[in-house]
Structures are given as structure tokens and as C-alpha cells.
Symmetry: C2
Subunit: 385 residues, 2 copies
């Protein structure tokens, strides 16, 4: 089967986009991606919109149809992809399938979310509705799961609290060089460790913010990629997998089954293994998640990711740079956009467009986590040879 190429990418400024709505953000990223890839709107066959909750956040649904109109992409087929906080990764999977199946010769994927007009409490309520009713109706939210898991991890593996803080410090440092990041702000370990407690032992700086933003990718069959781009990337492996929806039913709270299974699928499909990965974007919605994904994806043994972080292994000049974009932590986390933005960063790293964040990379990986690992999509991308 022919491989699927990525020939263009874009993202808007992430942060608080006052007075702009999700459709404005989607249109901005979509137009920029058309320009970046040299594709005319009329050439777009399929348009996928990754978005979790425009209805709940804005009272506006049908946004893919509205976006097709705004981009003047009619009669392109369009559809919304929702996989909660992994809607962006699910969008990459849907877009990949549309091209790989032959349904589309040119697919534009745009992910976005508008959230900051809501209070943190209101936004958390919308996000919490993705958990099992038995959980959220009793008040359990994703941050509380993160706190429980972090406590368990630190005690069981004798890991210092500081190691989690270093994830935040590293990702903020990377974000300094990302003009689109929500927080371009250096943060030292002391600041993280002394920030207000949110869900013990996790503190404010262990959490990603509430964010508005959008990101986009253009996908097509590899056979036509060269018509549009000298440098492009190819998706060589992609898979998604669920874990129990009820978090407390999992055998080991430090093992995210969805990460393990989707990673296994993506490695198998690409013929790659963890050692081949040169750069990765992981879903650091909470600092503890970066450890769990490093372990689930085979970058570290169980209970040992924290050591690699302590050693600087995952820093920009380390063996395996993780979250060179700044991650969700510093870049921000507009739900539907985040997985797409992970893809944007890896694409830019692979085609040499990452500017001051550039690392040497031929093979990159993204891992996008829905809920508390309820569904995970892992993608392996490679620079075209």
C-alpha cells in the first residue's frame, strides 16, 4: 500500500484568544496550512476537524461544515473527529485512513478548541464529563487521578518529587523557543515545587493550562507529495488503543494499556523500535504522564523514566529529546488541537523547520492521550528518503 505523506503544517498562537471563537482559530490554521503546503482549497478532498466540545464550550456545532464553507473547500467531504483530549491524534488517524483507503487524494486536518472564555471550573466540568459517570458524578476529575497516580509512582519506585518537577522545567525551557507557545517563561525547579498544591503531590506547575488554539496538517499519497514539497514527512506507523474506561479497574496504575498497545501497533507497522526514535512529543497534560508514556512506549523500563529525566536524557541536547515544542505544559492544551500540534512539531523537526528548537531527527513519534489513558493514539513519522 502506498505511504501517506505530510506536506504541510501550521499552528496558531496558543493561549488566550479573546474575542475569537473556535471557527476563527480553525480557519486561521486551515488557511495557513493551505499556504504552507501550496495546496488550493479546491484540491482538498476530505477535511477533518478534531474538536472535543464546541457545543459545550460555545453552543456551536456543525463546525466542520462551517469550516469547509469558510475555507471555500466545498464540496470537500468533512466530519468532526472527537476522541476527547486525544481528538487531534484521532484526527491524524482518520486523515491517514482517508488517504490510505483511497477515499481522498488530499486531506486537510484541522484541530482546535476555544476554552478560555470559561472559568477553570466550567472547563474542568466539561473535561470531567469524559470520564466514567461512576467517576465524575462522585467528583473524581482527571487532575485527581493524576495526583493519585503520581503518589503511587513516587512511593513505589522510590522516585524523588523533584524528578516530576524537572519535566515541567524542561518543557518550559523548550517552550521559550516556540513563538506559538502559551507560556514562554522560564521556570526553575524551586518555583514548581513551591507552587500551590492542586492534587497532592502534584502542584500547579505539574499541570498544563486551559488554552485556545488550532493546528493543521496536510496529508496526501506519497506519490504526489513531491509535486508540493521538496521536504516532506511520511507516516510509517499509526495505531490507537483503549484501556478500561473505569480507571480503578486497571491492574497496575502505572501502566497505561492504551499507550502500550498503540505503541506496539505503531512500532510493528513501521518496523521501528523505541531505539529508532529520534524525537518524541508526549502528552504531558500532567508531568506524571510523561513518565508513564516513556515507559509504555519502551523508552525506559517501568519505574525508571524518572532517572532518564534526572540525567537530562530527554532534554533538547539529550539522547531522546521529548517535547521540544514545549509540550502541553508550556505550549498549552486546546483539547482538539493538541494531538495535531504534536504532529506539527514532529513534522517541522523532520523537515528541518523547527528553527531554534531544531534537533537531529529522521524518525519521530507522537503519543496523544484521551482521558486518563482511556484511548491513546501513537504515530511514527519519518523524514522522506
Amino acid at each position: 500500500m502506498e505511504r501517506v505523506a505530510i506536506i504541510g503544517a501550521s499552528m496558531t498562537q496558543f493561549g488566550q484568544r479573546e474575542g475569537e471563537w473556535v471557527l476563527d482559530l480553525l480557519a486561521e490554521a486551515g488557511l495557513e496550512c493551505l499556504e504552507d503546503s501550496g495546496v488550493d482549497a479546491a484540491e482538498v478532498d476530505h477535511l477533518y476537524v478534531s474538536n472535543m466540545a464546541s457545543g459545550e464550550f460555545e453552543g456551536q456545532t456543525g463546525i466542520p461544515n462551517a469550516l469547509a464553507h469558510d475555507l471555500n473547500a466545498m464540496p470537500a467531504y468533512t466530519q468532526r473527529v472527537d476522541q476527547t483530549s486525544s481528538s487531534g491524534g484521532a484526527g491524524i488517524y482518520a486523515a491517514w485512513q482517508s488517504v490510505a483507503s483511497g477515499a481522498s487524494d488530499m486531506t486537510l486536518l484541522v484541530g482546535g478548541e476555544k476554552m478560555t472564555h470559561k472559568t477553570t471550573g466550567e472547563a474542568t466540568d466539561v473535561i470531567a464529563s469524559l470520564t466514567h459517570p461512576a467517576e465524575y458524578k462522585t467528583g473524581v476529575t482527571l487532575p485527581s487521578f493524576a495526583g493519585l497516580t503520581a503518589r503511587h509512582y513516587l512511593e513505589r519506585f522510590d522516585a524523588p518529587r523533584e524528578s516530576l518537577g524537572k519535566v515541567a522545567v524542561k518543557n518550559h525551557e523548550n517552550g521559550l523557543d516556540n513563538p506559538n507557545a502559551q507560556f514562554r517563561k522560564e521556570v526553575d525547579l524551586e518555583t514548581v515545587l513551591e507552587s500551590p498544591i492542586v492534587a497532592d503531590p502534584l502542584r500547579l506547575y505539574d499541570f498544563c493550562p486551559i488554552t485556545d488554539g488550532s493546528a493543521a496538517l496536510m496529508l496526501c499519497p506519497e506519490s504526489v507529495a513531491e509535486e508540493y514539497a521538496d521536504e516532506y514527512a511520511v507516516i510509517t506507523g499509526i495505531d490507537g488503543a483503549t484501556d478500561t474506561h473505569v480507571v480503578h479497574e486497571r491492574e497496575d496504575p502505572t501502566v497505561m494499556g492504551g499507550v502500550v498497545e498503540s505503541g506496539k501497533g505503531a512500532y510493528e507497522m513501521s518496523g521501528r523500535n523505541p531505539e529508532d526514535i529520534d524525537v518524541a512529543e508526549l502528552h504531558d497534560m500532567f508531568t506524571i504522564l510523561e513518565f508513564l508514556q516513556m515507559e509504555g512506549l519502551g523508552f525506559a523500563e517501568q519505574g525508571e523514566a524518572w532517572k532518564l529525566v534526572e540525567e537530562g536524557y530527554t532534554e533538547r541536547d539529550g539522547e531522546l529529546p521529548i517535547n521540544t515544542s514545549g509540550g502541553l505544559k508550556s505550549k498549552g492544551h486546546p483539547l482538539g488541537a493538541s494531538g495535531v500540534a504534536q504532529g506539527v512539531e514532529i513534522y517541522e523537526q523532520l523537515v528541518g523547520e523547527a528553527g531554534p528548537r531544531q534537533v537531529e531527527a529522521d524518525v519521530g513519534l507522537t503519543c496523544n492521550v484521551g482521558g486518563f489513558g482511556n484511548c491513546v493514539i501513537t504515530t511514527i513519522m519519518e523524514a522522506a528518503q
Copy 2:
């Protein structure tokens, strides 16, 4: 490329399902579809959930993850497909792509919506949010578009008001033989024509009801279909297309561009033409839509569908039976389920499981309309040879 087969189908009772929620309905249809197809939950690779608005209707999101859990289908990949009122058709397209791309060897598609716990006004508000903000913020809803279009059609093509009423009469008559239909109730023309005006010239009986319900299909590569079923159907053509999101920007209000374009794509892919179609399920959310789809899909010339209806051409014993299931009109319209339920009816007709509704059919078609034709998915299915 290998063809994609449908090896099983199910639908729940449509209607008012008091005390049950969307997840209950999805699980019921999902379990029944597993049983009908002889597939074990552990064999399911991908699970798609067609649903427009569980967040808005119930405050519950992440339902695909919850359903994977409830069906014990982990680690199957799962995702929600939203294309407003055509979410079901979009689900068939997504499920088809998942198999055709090789991503999945066994895909379960379940569509569903829970709506009747809301007042008609509340439900209409949610549905209206799919239109362009410039439209719904000024109070234009889908029924009002239908009224305007019907008035235009009747006057321009000199069609009698009765012809629209006959669509309702026919579909109610078909629904009498569908045990899962919301309204199993014979309706005569007089009743339709004397029912309360909703959007002049359309009256209550020109509209589909608010409905709870779910429907499911099982898809796999044709090469393995025979392991599961003696009789199965094959999707030979499928395409989706948008029209302007702003309805008043369309050149001709009686031409639904999305119907025309998606139909063209499905015919081309299957090598079929309108004359080959033996049975069709059209999206009769409003009676006038059945005319517009008949014309857009080439079953009638522009302005002449009403004549075919008058002649009985689309009745169960006519040349081209349309909406043998009872259509949205009598069967009901749980948004995310409707497009899937159209596929269920055509599948049952093709494999000879339609019971008292059975017609002779080797080739069937479904047309699922999102919004007021904002995005349309047309599918052609054939009995396996």
C-alpha cells in the same frame, strides 16, 4: 483494493426510551450486532460511535471509550464520528475507510442518540446550533428552511401540496411493518393535510419526530466475510460532499449540491447508475427532502419527483421502493443512529432479512443528510455474489 463487507446489523426499538441513556442504547445495539454477526468482542479492531451531541443532551462525553469498556472490546481503537444529522452516514464512511485502509480487520459501527428527555424546544435548540451562526442566532431553524423550500418547490414546479403528504402516508405505511419504528401507525392523507402547521406549507406530519435509539453494523474485508455469514452485503460505492453552510448562498434552493456530488461519487466508485438501484433509504427528516434527494440522485428529473410519488413509483410494490423501513418519518430520527439505521435496512433487504418489508433487491442506496444538505453521505451496497 479489497471490497468491504457488511456481515451483521442491528437496531434497538426507536422511540421514547425513558430511563435509558445513550450509552445503554449504544450497548444494546452493539451487543446485538456482535451476536448477529457472530463476532466476538475481542475480535473488534475499531469501534466507531456516531453521535452528534451526547454532551449537549446528557452532559456525558467520551462515550466511545465507555462503550468499548461496556462491550469488553478493549483494546479496540475507538472514536466518535460527528457530522450532525448525518453522523450515521459519516460513521459508515469512517468504518469503511478503517477496513479499506487496512487499519482494521473488524470494525463495529454503533450510532445512537438520546433526545426525548429534552423538550422539543430544547432539542430544536441543540439541532439548530449546527446551522451557520448568522442563521440560527437570528432564529432560523431547519424546519423553517424546509418550509421555505417546500413553498418554493410547490409553486415553481406546479406540484400539489398533496404530493408531499403522500410521502408521509407511504412512509407511515412502511413503518407499520417495522417492529422497531417509533410510530407504527397508519396515517391517511387527510390527517397529514389537516395536522397543525409547523412551517407553512409544512405541517406536523411532514416532520420526523424527536427520538431515542441506536443502530449498528459490522464491517470487515470481503475475504473474511464468508467465515461469519452465508449472506452478506458489500459496500461498492461511498462518498460524502458538502454544500454551502449558509443555505441562502445556494444558487437553486431545490438542488442539494451535497446530494448531487456525493451521489456522483458513489455511482462512479460502484460503476452503478440510478437505474441500477433497487431500493433506497432517503433522509426524509422533512417530506420535501425526499423529493430533493430523489432528484439529486437521478431517480427523477428536477421538479418531477412529486409525479413519481403520486404514481406510486416509490411504494413498496413500486419500481423503486423508497424508505421501506418507514424512513425517519415513521421510524424516528435519533440523530447519530439514523444514517446507520438506513444501512441496517438496506443490509436486511439485500440479505433477505427484511421480513414483511422485504422487496426484491440486489443493489441498494442510502442517502444521509447533515443539516439542511450542508454535508451528505451516499452509500451503495450490493448483495454479495
